[in-house]
Symmetry: C2
Subunit: 100 residues, 2 copies
DNA sequence: AGTGTATCTAACCATTCGGTTAGCTAACCA
DNA sequence: TGGTTAGCTAACCGAATGGTTAGATACACT
């Protein structure tokens, strides 16, 4: 269930660790070890988060000797922004409540 | 875990049924029965989705005789849009990959 | 008072999620 | 060749998710 890309993207973003990883990657690519450092969490746990992000198309992973550098792939975030924009008129205007 | 509001909002949005409910509510408030109709799903299942949306602050529910009309509360979507906007430069520009 | 409708709670079930530890593979270096 | 490091998979665990059915509650209409 929930095989649509927007659901997968939102699910990937619904975790503060994963959002922190994306935020770190805005400063440029990083290796897994580097991404693990800020968290009180085992390597495999971060590895799982990275897989979730990769499946959502939010990161891409390269291969460089014994490292697997990750870099941000922000395209799905454009979909998110566009989806949310559809609701703009419901938050930035005093839209009428005709039912009241 | 994941008590931050952004995580709760993203988690609520990570389900197509719930996003469809929000989309329906852009046309105005609706009763639970009305929201249930489009889905091949039991009443309690929709009721649970509504509770998730309510806890995320995405809908509000009134009380009107035996009905509990729901209406859209889009404020959390503004947070989502703003969060995503921080990544705009990573999707709409050919940003440099200094590492390559 | 009794019937019907709208909605919720409770209990249950299978699956997914976020974490762990243990152990593997691949690459580098002495 | 052996040792160290980076990163992975596998197996497991407890909690959360998304659904179900059964039953409770609240209100409206005769």
């Amino acid at each position: 269930m929930a095989v649509d890309s927007l659901s997968i993207t939102f699910a990937a973003l619904a975790d503060p660790t994963r959002r922190a990883i994306l935020a770190r990657l805005t400063a440029g690519p990083a290796r897994v070890k580097e991404l693990t450092a800020p968290f009180a969490m085992s390597g495999p746990a971060v590895s799982k988060h990275l897989r979730v992000l990769e499946r959502a198309g939010l990161i891409a992973r390269g291969r460089e000797a014994q490292w697997r550098p990750c870099r941000l792939e922000a395209a799905p975030l454009k979909e998110v922004a566009e989806w949310a924009e559809n609701y703009r008129r419901f938050w930035d205007a005093n839209f009428e409540r005709l039912d009241e």
